[in-house]
């Protein structure tokens, strides 16, 4: 008997069923291989940052990915076996041994996974080429488009594919070996037994999750929190365990308990959609809860990773604007000819040149700069220079209207007291008010103060000073040419362009890896959800046909189908989203001090990453949901 022919015909005839599986596998293997190519491409990794960092991230991701793959491959394999239970029963009744049946299944899986592996590798070459071109153009990297080819990434992906086959082989062998012939054809009848729900596990799930979240929120206390008193690692472990247990029990037990309560209330149950959906959903939760829990946890990790990446990107951007306010800031005394050259360069680029005199002074009493810092040492500039520079940097006239000549403005990263009263500086009494913006690089432990021109003149009479030169203008912060021109003068200066480029170079590889990993897992989860709904729908086509026959109209059937789909979609997305956001909040409070967040802007640091991540999640999964819904309608004929 030619098993290869049987296997090929099975795939050919059942291509409708296998098509989506093949596409999902190809996409997942494609993304996985893209990650491997990136990690092993030392040319690009070195040009971005340390390749060791990139390799390490890829190594960890590969292990996690492989673990999830085992779970999902077994899950899908069992589904296909159940779908083909009748066919397998016919094989056994015709005289095929269990070994023969396993051989046919192995050949089929080898063909599909083999084809998906090659398709994935081909896709990955396309993906990677596009990403590389994008990086070279966007970051202006000085590397060739074509670099030496390495086979190692492809070997890793092929090894993963072989590993998938081995997992399927052992699963099939284990499952079919222990079944009697009659039970092989009854594979799809397993599981139709009463679902028992327990209230205590239902409540335990909620309590466990809430305690976990409360522990995360305890980080708000920062130094006073339990995390500092008990220790980060033990607290992190406890919180993680509580959240995982909570997620597991809520999906497996709490949801089932709530549905069961509705079922026992016949007034709720005996409604057209409920009568079908509620009992069905109880079984769905029983058979799919493990999958939904795993998906929730993966989504949590992806959300936390994505939001954290956005936080770090914003952190980098915001800190740069705050710490390097001018496009170019020259911190040395220039000779007259040097000043002329700089002015000419500035004029050539359409910028504004400003000379800033900074006086070193001493206050009579310490001036508080932050929660932990106070100093008597001051650096003073005059108010007209202060306002002029701000105008050049922000080009917003309203900045000037906020500043009164009767007051002096003390730069603080965030509001401490607003009005500071009167301070004696170099025998001049100044009324201090706080400001959170400052137009020059504010380094060291100094109180940076802007005073009115009259007071500035008096303070400067018996004080040392230095001169700083600032260049600002439209689009000059990112201007490489301007930077190079100033560099040629061989003077000491701070450049917004260079600082940004260095920060980007240092972090870009890590950000890129994190983005790839997020995209990989987003696609992975999307495929799983889509495929799960597809599998589910195929299992109920007959039931929906029957419901149509006895009088359910298309609207009612669509309602039931929507409810079924949402049962698969919503729990992992809601639980994953909540857990992910809590993890992100935990990260924010644990690794970034409150004053840093206030200085850089709470919305930019926290609000924006959360909103963008939630939007991305919403868009990505809405697309998947819409595809799934249309496929469901097509399969059910509604």
């Amino acid at each position: 008997m030619n098993y290869k022919v049987i296997a090929k015909n099975n795939i050919k005839n059942g291509f409708g069923l296998y098509k989506n599986y093949f596409i999902s596998l190809s996409l997942i293997l494609g993304l996985f291989n893209t990650l491997q190519i990136f990690a092993k491409d030392h040319v690009i990794a070195d040009s971005l940052s340390s390749s060791a960092k990139v390799e390490f991230m890829s190594y960890v991701t590969s292990i996690l990915f492989t673990l999830f793959t085992i779970f999902f491959i077994i899950y899908f394999n069992r589904f296909f076996l159940k779908q083909r239970a009748e066919e397998l029963g016919i094989y056994s009744m015709l005289g095929m041994s269990k070994k023969n049946i396993t051989s046919i299944l192995m050949i089929e899986n080898t063909i599909i996974i083999g084809m998906a592996c090659f398709a994935g590798i081909f896709l990955s070459i396309l993906f990677y080429s596009l990403i590389k071109i994008l990086l070279i153009v966007a970051l202006k990297l000085d590397i060739p488009y074509l670099t030496q080819f390495t086979f190692l990434p492809f070997l890793i992906t092929i090894a993963l594919s072989i590993f998938m086959l081995l997992v399927i082989f052992f699963d099939n062998h284990h499952l079919i070996k222990r079944l009697s012939i009659i039970n092989i054809s009854n594979l799809n009848q397993v599981g139709e037994k009463a679902v028992k729900t327990k209230s205590w596990t239902a409540y335990l799930g909620i309590i466990s999750l809430l305690i976990g979240y409360a522990l995360v929120l305890d980080l708000v206390k920062q130094q006073q929190s339990l995390w500092v008193k008990i220790g980060f690692v033990p607290m992190a472990l406890i919180t993680l365990v509580l959240v995982i247990i909570g997620t597991f029990l809520i999906i497996k037990s709490t949801l089932a308990y709530l549905i069961n309560r509705k079922i026992n209330n016949h007034r709720q149950l005996y409604r057209p959609t409920n009568n079908i959906f509620l009992p069905e959903s109880l079984f769905k939760l029983k058979t799919k809860s493990n999958l939904l829990v795993v998906l929730s946890l993966v989504i949590s990790a992806v959300i936390a990773l994505t939001a954290t990446c956005f936080l770090l990107i914003n952190y980098q951007k915001a800190s740069l604007i705050k710490t390097v306010p001018s496009a170019i800031e020259i911190d040395q005394k220039l000779k007259p000819d040097q000043v002329t050259k700089v002015k000419q360069i500035t004029k050539n680029y359409g910028g504004d040149f400003k000379t800033v005199k900074v006086i070193n002074a001493t206050a009579k009493r310490p001036i508080v700069l932050s929660e932990k810092m106070a100093t008597k040492k001051c650096r003073i500039i005059n108010l007209s220079t202060f306002k002029g520079l701000l105008k050049q940097q922000y080009n917003k006239p309203q900045h000037n209207s906020k500043f009164s000549k009767k007051l002096a403005y003390l730069f603080t990263p965030y509001t401490i007291k607003n009005s500071r009263g009167t301070v004696n500086i170099n025998k001049q009494k100044v009324s201090l008010k706080e400001t959170n913006i400052w137009p020059i690089f504010a380094k060291g432990n100094f109180a940076y103060i802007a005073v009115n021109d009259q007071q500035f003149k008096k303070i400067s009479q018996h004080a040392n000073s230095k001169t700083i030169y600032a260049i600002n203008g439209a689009n000059l912060r990112d201007n490489e040419e301007l930077y190079n021109k100033i560099k040629e003068l061989k003077i000491k200066f701070l450049s917004a362009y260079k600082t940004n480029k260095d920060a980007l170079s240092y972090n870009s590889a890590a950000f890129l890896m994190a983005t790839l990993i997020s995209v990989l897992f987003f696609v992975f989860i999307g495929c799983i959800l889509y495929f799960t709904i597809l599998m589910d729908t195929l299992g109920v086509t007959d039931e929906f046909k029957f419901l149509g026959d006895i009088g359910y109209n298309k609207k009612q059937l669509r309602k039931a189908a929507t409810a079924n789909n949402l049962l698969i979609f919503l729990p992992p997305i809601i639980m994953g989203g909540l857990n992910g956001l809590m993890a992100f909040i935990g990260f924010r409070f644990n690794f970034l001090a409150n004053d840093v967040i206030k200085f850089l802007g709470a919305f930019q640091m926290v609000g924006e990453p959360i909103i963008i991540t939630c939007l991305l999640l919403l868009i990505a999964y809405s697309i998947i949901y819409v595809f799934s819904y249309h496929k469901t309608k097509a399969l059910l004929g509604i």
Partner: protein
């Protein structure tokens, strides 16, 4: 006597060339039990699908309970089936995730009846069909005969104008088949439910008041029951063999 069903010159073509039904004319009286017999491919199931609004006729008219059903839209047809028709299928078509009680409740839930009325009716009918102990079980735990009884209760619980049975004994052994037919006959007699049954089983057909024979999409004979079930069964078996030849 009022006609519950009137089929007037109904034809059905597939892909504009294959004629499955050719000018079918017959009627069913209110409270009558009619069986349709014929060989495989004679058009029995096609005819049943036309009458039960699951398919549309290419020509002719069909009246069920004085409603013309030949040109109903999908939603109108679904609404009509919901209110007026009951179905019993060969493979039972019970929802495997629902208990027996929940399965039986489906048609009444669809009609929007209140939970107390539904439960009372279920309990009463379950007792009549000797299924009271099975109400909280799932279909997988039932025998074929029990499943078909559940299907019958589900079909009659809303007092349909017309009950359709498509090979109701097809998946049962002879003993279970006999029991099911006795129940169907009781349903017809006790509840006065009009029944239209499609079958190739002469035992099943012997419980009907009238049997219509189809061949190649046409009615070739109609026999009204005058004798006992056993005699009628022999007559039907003989006639079916002649029709199939």
């Amino acid at each position: 006597m009022t006609k519950i069903l009137r089929v007037n010159n109904v034809t059905k073509f597939y892909e504009k060339r294959y004629q499955a039904l050719a000018g079918i004319n017959f009627a069913v009286d209110f409270g009558e039990f009619v069986a349709i017999m014929g060989a495989s491919g004679s058009g029995k199931t096609t005819l049943l699908n036309m009458i039960s609004t699951l398919d549309t006729a290419s020509g002719g008219t069909i009246y069920v309970d004085e409603h013309e059903i030949s040109k109903l839209s999908d939603d109108e047809a679904a609404n009509f089936r919901k209110k007026k028709l009951g179905f019993v299928f060969q493979n039972y078509r019970l929802l495997k995730s629902l208990t027996v009680r929940q399965n039986i409740a489906v048609p009444m839930s669809l009609l929007g009846r209140n939970d107390q009325e539904i439960d009372q009716k279920i309990d009463k009918l379950a007792e009549y069909f000797r299924l009271s102990d099975q109400l909280d079980k799932y279909p997988v735990a039932l025998s074929g005969g029990q499943k078909q009884r559940v299907a019958i209760i589900r079909a009659i619980i809303k007092n349909p104008a017309l009950l359709f049975a498509d090979e109701p004994t097809g998946a049962l052994d002879s003993q279970a088949a006999k029991l099911i037919m006795e129940y169907l006959a009781k349903v017809n007699q006790k509840f006065n439910t009009s029944i239209l049954m499609v079958t190739h089983d002469s035992l099943a057909a012997s419980y009907a008041n009238k049997v219509i024979f189809l061949k190649d999409g046409k009615i070739v004979d109609q026999i009204v029951k005058k004798d006992s079930n056993d005699v009628f069964q022999q007559l039907l078996a003989q006639r079916l063999a002649e029709v199939e030849a």
